[in-house]
Every structure is written in C-alpha cells, then in structure tokens.
Amino acid sequence: MSQDVHMESKNLVVRYGDRIGVGVKGGVNLPLYRHRVTALIGPSGCGKTTFLRALNRMHDLTPTAKVEGEVLLDGENIYAPGVDPVLVRRRVGMVFQKPTAFPTMSIYDNVAAGLKLVGIRDRKRLDEAVERALRGAALWDEVKDRLRAPASGLSGGQQQRLTIARALAVEPEVLLMDEPTASLDPISTQAIEDLLLTLKEQVTIVIVTHNMQQAARVSDYTAFFLNGEMVEFGPTETLFTKPQDPRTEAYITGRFG
C-alpha cells in the first residue's frame, strides 16, 4: 500500500500571537495522498480549520498569524522564501463553508472568474472550461440553459456547487473544503457528498467536517484533531472501528464533541 503522497505537512505550527492554533507538541505531520479524500475531524476549536488554511497559505491574510514548519506540495515547501502565494493558491484551491458565489456576476462569469484573472479571453476556451468545470461539480444539467443568469438566483446547494465549479475551473491539483455542507440542506449535502466520490479522480481532496458520519461516508483517510494537536491519523475504516488513541475513541463514540 505504498500510496503516493501529494502534499504533506512537516512540524507545522500556526500561532496567533502567543496562542498556538494548531501544532502543539512539536507540530503536525500529516500526509495527504494523491487522488484520495482525507477528512479532518474534531470538536469546535480543535485546530482542524486552522490546519486546513495553512495548506493554501490563507494565513498570509491574517497579520497576527505565524506559520512555522513546512508544507510540501510534490516535495516543494510552499512556505519557502520567494514562493508566491498566488501560485500556491492556483494549485491548491479552496471551498468555504458559506457558499460564496460572487453575487453580482452571472453563473458563467463566476466559473470563468479564475480563468479570466490570468488573461484567458478566448471565448471557445472559456466555454469549454466552464462546461467542464460545471460538469465536474454536477451542476451542468441544472444551469446549462441559464449560464448568463445571475448567480444569486441559485439555491444554497447550487451555489455551493457553483463555488466548487469555480475552484475546479482553474484545474487545481488539490481541493481544500472547509465544512462545505454545514449550511446546506440534507439533499444538497447528499449531492455534494456523491460528487466527492467522482471528484477525487481528478483532484486530491482534503475536507474539514464536524460531522463524523460524513467523514466516514466520503473519506479514505481521516485525521482527528483535539485542542490544537493532531491526535491520530489513519485509513478511515481503521480509525473509526479500531482507534488507537483513547481520545479518538471518546470522540467517535460521542462522549464529547
């Protein structure tokens, strides 16, 4: 089972001022395997989202946050001096908890936003990329007749799939998802979970979820975080049926959370 490691963190610590957000006890060492879904679970405030946001250098936007350690993408440290975060974020995309479609733009323009940023103007190229991305997000059939309609007219679940399509359009290698179904209804949640199963053939997925059942349903690997520490990591089935650490077991059996 020698899996191909796509991204990994080495001794990763994120500090906010003098408080450690994640990485107590020497930092987080976590491998993320190519074309697999890795779930990050744990109670509120455990650091899983903080860890996720370190993977695409989102902490650069917070002046009080300091990141130590390394995050390797295909062996190269994304925090090495001289590395442009804009480049990193192109290869490592992100979808957020609240559907963040750009409300003043049409569906088409939303998906094409990332492409237009790098100066792609060719209509045919854009059309193809938009269709590809929308198909990849399982949204194409629902919107193909109204691509020019404002994105704000879509339902919450559709908007979330739209943001997935938008992220996919720039063809990232990794897709980070921060509790993507937390604000959606069960049907939309189901649609997105189904999506992940096919999506992982194209991209490596890392998903933060507070819903253990979801993690069990969709992920291949799971990491359990607690109080800023990554307590345990392993294949999902193993972690859920035979957890090594008593804290993991306590969380999974619902003794706290």
Binding site: N56, M58, L61, V86, L87, R89, R90, G93, M94, F96, Q97, K98, T100, F102, P103, T104, M105, A113, G114, L117, S152, T163, R166, A167, V170
Partner: protein, 315 residues
C-alpha cells in the same frame, strides 16, 4: 402593540413624542410651501418654465428675472467638482478600509471628519486669498497668454483670467465634498463579508484583483450613494462658492470668467434686494434649489437602502 400603549402615561408620552417628532415633517412641508408662496410673485409673472429657463437676470433696468444662468452654474460647478472629487475619495476609502494599518486608518477617518466639519467660510477665505491669486498667476494667465498666441479660438472659452470665476469654484469644492463619498464608500467596503474576499484570494488573485473582483462590485451601492450625497453637498455649498466665483449675471460660458450658482446669487443679492419682485425672484430660486436638492438627496437615500439589502443577501 395595543398592550404597550394601554398604560395612560405611555399613551400621553407617545402622543407627545409624535407631536414633537412630526416637527421634522412639518419643517420640510413648511419649507416647500413657504418657498413657493414667497416666490409666487416671480413665478406667476414669468411662469415656472419661463423663470427656470429665462436667461436674463436684470434687477435694475429691465426687471426681468430668469434663473437659467444660476441653474447652469450650479450644474456645471457641482458636477465638475463631483468628478474631480470622486477618484481621491474612492482611493481614500479603499486605502482606509483595506490597506492601511489600523492606526493610520483611524487617523484618516478623523481627518475626513475634520474636512467635512471645516466651515464653508474658512475654505472660502483660503480660496480668496491663496487659491484664486495662485491660479491666476500660475495657471490662468500663462494659459491665456499661450492661447492668445497659439490657439486664439480657445480664448473666448477661457475668459478673463482674474482668478475669481468658475475654475476656482470648481477647484475649491472637491475638498469639501470628498468626505461624503469617502465615508460611505469606506463603510460599504468594510461591510463586504470576509468570505467573499477569501473566496477571491483562494482563486489565486492579487490584492488589487480581490478588490476589483469581490469587494468593489458589492460596495457599488454605497459608493454611488456616497457620490450622490457629495453631489447634494456640492449643490448646496454657498459661502466658499460665493467668495471665489466672481458673481456674474451672465451665462457661464467661460472657464476663468465669473459665474454664479443658485445659492451664491441668493447669498449675494438677498440683502440688497429692495423690490418685492427681486426678493420674490430670489426666493423662487430657493424654491428651485429646494427641489433639486430634494431629488438628489432622495436618490442617495434610495440607493443606500438598496445597497443594504444587497449586502444582506450576500451574507
């Protein structure tokens, strides 16, 4: 609501509040009514359209009053100053809301408060003694001389370079109205939800691209409302304009030459008007000014409400 008002004291209090609070409404209605009544002598004599479009304002010989030169002057001065003020105001708003460190942003916001609070007469004082002479010597005179030699067709549009005229008025106003656009734009930018910014960054956008893609489109309403508010202020500015605009009765066709606006003609002539018709004509100008101002202010308020609803929808 019935329950809350059942207590007798509450009812008296609420009625009392309503009575006094209606003062605002009464004030607006009274203003519209009295300005109409006071101006009716002139309005009836020349007709509303005739008065508004009339080009002759002659209190001395012909005793005809047409407000068009002042309407035109107001439109030119306020639109031009709005145009000049818009970019610096937007830049300041973007800088204060997004890019400046907190201490600097607070300092800038305080300076904006100051700029809005400085009385018009103080700006006017500076305009008379510093700006106008400087413009005359360093801009108008050289331009005039150059045009006289190389572009004589331009000369009639320039007018006599005295320093007290349309140009100076247009240049002194932007500073007074920048705070209005800047404050509303800044607030609108700050209100854009964090997630929208992050979504743009996550796509691999640079700082400016995030502003262009995610922030400014959502802040559009507040920015436009701010522009309307600034326009409203520019329209109503009296003292600074009166002090530098040269106060002419003629149609404002030259850049350097004297002109007048609706507020400035009222300020200039009201205390000297001895005849009823003259006085009435000035009040009628006030009546027109009232409605123009109302329209612009209403639009600003309407755009602002719409903007608030749009942001709530995106959250």
């Amino acid at each position: 609501m019935k329950r809350l008002y059942s207590h007798f004291g509450d009812r008296v209090f609420a009625a009392f509040l309503l009575l006094l609070g209606l003062g605002v409404v009464v004030l607006a209605l009274l203003m519209a009514y009295e300005l109409y009544r006071g101006g009716s002598l002139a309005l009836n004599r020349f007709g509303l359209l005739g008065f508004a479009l009339g080009r002759e304002w002659d209190p001395v010989i012909q005793k005809t009053f047409g407000a068009w030169p002042y309407i035109l002057g107001t439109v030119i001065v306020s639109l031009s100053s709005l145009f000049l003020s818009f970019f610096p105001a937007l830049a300041t708003a973007i800088f204060a809301a997004e890019y400046a460190p907190r201490w600097l942003a607070q300092g800038l916001n305080f300076l904006l408060d100051l700029m809005a609070a400085v009385p018009s007469v103080v700006y006017g004082l500076w305009g008379i003694f510093i700006l106008a002479p400087w413009l005359r010597d360093h801009v108008q005179l050289p331009l005039y001389m150059w045009a006289a030699e190389h572009a004589s067709w331009l000369v009639p549009f320039l007018g006599v370079p005295t320093g007290y005229g349309l140009m100076t008025a247009i240049l002194i106003l932007p500073s007074m109205i920048v705070p209005f656009t800047a404050a509303l734009a800044r607030d609108a930018i700050a209100l854009v939800p964090r997630e929208q910014r992050e979504a743009a960054y996550a796509l691999g956008a640079t700082r400016w691209e995030v502003m262009r893609l995610a922030i400014l489109p959502l802040a559009r309403g507040g920015i436009v409302a701010g522009a309307f508010l600034a326009l409203a202020r520019a329209i109503g500015e009296t003292m600074a304009v009166t002090m530098v605009i040269g106060n002419s009765h003629k149609l404002p066709y030259t850049l350097f030459g004297g002109a007048a606006t609706m507020p400035s003609v009222i300020a200039n002539e009201f205390t000297e008007a001895v005849e009823d018709l003259h006085l009435s004509a000035l009040i009628a100008v006030g009546f027109l000014l009232f409605w123009v101002s109302m329209a612009v202010n209403f639009t600003a308020a309407w755009v602002l409400r719409r903007q608030e609803r749009l942001v709530k929808g995106a959250v």
